[in-house]
């Protein structure tokens, strides 16, 4: 099976196509692929409890590893994360690139 890293930089309240990426991540994970969704910049906004955050928790239940860039979180004053989302350094992206994961920026 393949391993993917999706980097989500967009705010889902601003970009409806975030849901398309989340859906793709979910489908791949359910298919048995290894999938990480790394939230960065305004992509971390739904990691705070909001109308869009349940979708991230659902992704985690589907088997997607959902990480949020700790620097982006600090910039936006987000300390508490919804269930299923974990803080991580940006180094994770380089870790996965080193490991040869298919890496896609959105």
């Amino acid at each position: 099976m393949a391993a993917y890293l999706f980097i989500e930089s967009r705010d889902p309240f601003d970009s409806n196509d975030c849901a398309q990426l989340w859906s793709l991540a979910s489908s791949l994970a359910k298919n048995g692929d290894t999938v990480t969704l790394f939230l960065v910049q305004n992509g971390v906004l739904p990691a705070r409890k909001s109308a869009k955050s349940d979708a991230l928790s659902a992704l985690a239940k589907d088997g997607v590893e959902v990480l949020a860039d700790e620097f982006s979180l600090r910039e936006r004053g987000i300390a508490e994360l919804v269930s299923g989302v974990k803080k991580a350094p940006l180094d994770v992206v380089v870790d996965h690139m080193e490991a040869g994961r298919k890496t896609v920026w959105h």
Binding site: N42, F71, L90, V94
Partner: protein
Amino acid sequence: MAKKILTLLLMDAPYESSRTTTAFRLIDIATKRGHDVKVFAYEGAVALTFAKQAPHGNAVHGRDVAQEDHPNPKDWVAALMEQATSSGGKLEWTNCGLCVDERGVGEAIPGVGRGSPVDAWKAAEASDNSLLIPTR
């Protein structure tokens, strides 16, 4: 971790997007690990290394040029190149020549090359992994 070759493709013009900051952060991490990083800059991103970028003061806040210490991306790129070298790797930066000519930003800082989109393809072919950071 063995040395890797990583390619990043950048599109955003300077002073406009958080994507540039994130890209620089990624280059910072990769070069500190001693990896070789290839950057192919195209569209507005070719201005990131424009040598004539100039700092400015801030009259509203009453600060002169030195006090304002306005950051210019060309200096960050130069610093990343130095860091790569001191960490045992290299940062190879290539600007799309067509994009450079369109924008009149041909005077780049030392160490920056000029190429065509085929160089982006060649860089990706020669790399262990690639990441395209597009504009919206």
